[in-house]
Subunit: 339 residues, 2 copies
């Protein structure tokens, strides 16, 4: 029997927790009734968690509760996190993972604290210059991996090359039947465009481009992120964070305007087709930013997401481990260093 996929979940982080996190676990377990290849380690106030497990009628041998009475507060800053967050539900997740008892950690809590303590406990991989936050972003043909989304607001060319190796490995673990196609986000597609740093990164990526690891497709502009020609989009954390949030804001603005424009009668007649449209673009499906470059993956769920969104991030954790992310990362980084 092969080793089970072991997921550490911080049940206490984010709005409306642990209700939303435990209901998310319930959805995951219901959707995976026939498989017994996973264990879910739930960290938080034991009595409260038992109460919620009862409330949502979860009775599964795949669940393991680890009592953590302390919780990271929303007001905690990364500066004070190390001192104040010891033995919180979030901290204990990462510690459990460090000890090899979980393969991945998931929290909807304070992002800054999660990044700081993950990095402190799990430590950076030797081969990586900086860790990065990666996210999923829909495109015409399926899904993009985009990084960095904000872990590093200033980057050099080697950071971007590392992000390409990390992002391609993530893409391969999530979509094993597809090939990673890397592009660098830039203000134009011609070779002469962009900063000297981007040009140097582009040259390195062109040299590293190979069928086995990733195909480098050159620069990509903001309006082509969703074209589907590339599926691993690399940028610094400042630009990536602003691009992602601008896309979110634009999507919200458009759908809100659409709703306001539709009259009751047209709403009735377009209900089912609009439902199909909403389902495809449902932001809950893209919930979960993946912290890459440490000695183990950590997933940050959106704090304000509901239980269905939290389910999608549990499922993301499951797929990442099943797809052997860490093996793929090591393979890619070896290629990068010997390339």
């Amino acid at each position: 029997m092969s080793k089970k996929i072991s997921i550490a979940i911080d049940a206490m982080g984010g709005d409306n927790s642990p209700d939303k996190t435990i209901e998310g676990v319930k959805i995951f377990i219901d959707k995976n009734k026939t498989s017994d290849d996973f264990i879910i380690n739930i960290f938080g106030k034991e009595d409260l968690i038992i109460e919620k497990l009862k409330k949502y009628k979860i009775n599964s041998s795949a669940i393991n509760i680890i009592d953590s009475q302390k919780v990271v507060s929303d007001e905690e800053t990364p500066m004070t996190a190390v001192k104040n967050s010891k033995n919180t539900s979030m901290w204990n997740c990462i510690q459990h993972q460090l000890e090899g008892k979980s393969d991945i950690s998931l929290s909807a809590g304070n992002t800054g604290v999660l990044l700081v303590i993950s990095r402190m406990i799990l430590k950076m991989m030797n081969e990586v210059s900086k860790p990065a936050l990666a996210g999923l972003w829909p495109n015409k043909n399926g899904m993009n991996v985009v990084l960095d989304l904000g872990a590093n607001i200033e980057c050099n060319e080697q950071n971007l090359v590392d992000f390409a190796e990390l992002g391609s490995a993530l893409f391969k673990s999530l979509f094993p039947n597809d090939k990673p196609k890397v592009s660098l986000l830039n203000v134009g597609s011609e070779e002469i465009k962009g900063t000297e740093m981007l040009k140097a990164a582009s040259k390195k990526l062109r040299d590293l481009s190979s069928e086995d690891n990733f195909i480098y497709k050159g620069y990509i502009e903001g309006n082509n992120i969703m074209s589907g020609n590339s599926n691993v989009i690399i940028t610094d954390g400042f630009t990536g964070n602003i691009a992602l949030k601008t896309a979110e804001g634009t999507a919200k603005f458009i759908t809100k305007n659409l709703k306001e424009s539709l009259t009751t009668i047209s709403l009735i007649f377009s209900f089912f087709s609009l439902k199909k449209f909403k389902d495809k673009l449902d932001p809950r499906k893209y919930n979960g930013a993946i912290f890459l470059g440490l000695n183990g993956p950590v997933v940050k769920s959106h704090g304000g997401i509901d239980s269905m969104g939290f389910y999608y991030s549990i499922n993301l954790c499951y797929k990442i481990v099943k797809g052997n992310l860490m093996t793929e990362i090591k393979k890619n980084l070896k290629h990068s260093k010997s390339g």
Copy 2:
């Protein structure tokens, strides 16, 4: 009688020109039948322009043709532009403006060449550290001015402060009944977020904030660009270009998916409400990037836009001059230097 608003139009730039540019002029003249406060100077191949004026049945004393047989090619790069673009229709527009015969120039041609020759002929204002490209971007309550959209991929704090003064002046000239509210685009809204350069720019803007020029509202994140709380969004040209194009790409992706989701029957029933929705978000209404910081404004129309979109950029030119942009800019820069 006060001086007429004089607009120089490069009729030859962009796809499907001069048909689109001349038809755009036709729409502008039809919509302004009752006013006689403008002159349109059309630059291009005279015989061709006369032919198109006939084709679109334009017979107006407000039109003045200036023969320019040479045209800037799409393949021209900014490097070779100065040598090769002399006496083209684009060049002659800017030259006409320098000589005080036009107040503003408009072209749908090669962007790089337009920026280079505008800067060379009109020259930078003494008080400005770098010129910038500004654009209009819809928000919940009306319209944002956003800059820089790509003229400067690397900026320092003084550049951003200058952009705030230029952008606020543009906002005041376009929307005289509204107050400019400036925000700096950043990865978070807290004081501690962002690069040292952004923090320094933020401090300067806070010191310059005043009822007369602009109110500084602090940092803004990408998802709040369209919230309407600010209306002058300041960023470097790299980030601004990527944010704008990402928003365009997202809008296109969503409307395309919406169209594909709607069945024929729901399309019929939602036709009118969808038309209202499309009208409000019609990208042609935001056509035209304004080059600010030179001794005179220059407007770049999207090359691929149609005649209606080109009309909107002519109308933008008209409103900019009518709103006394250059006077507003000088007032703001004086404030900035003495502040």
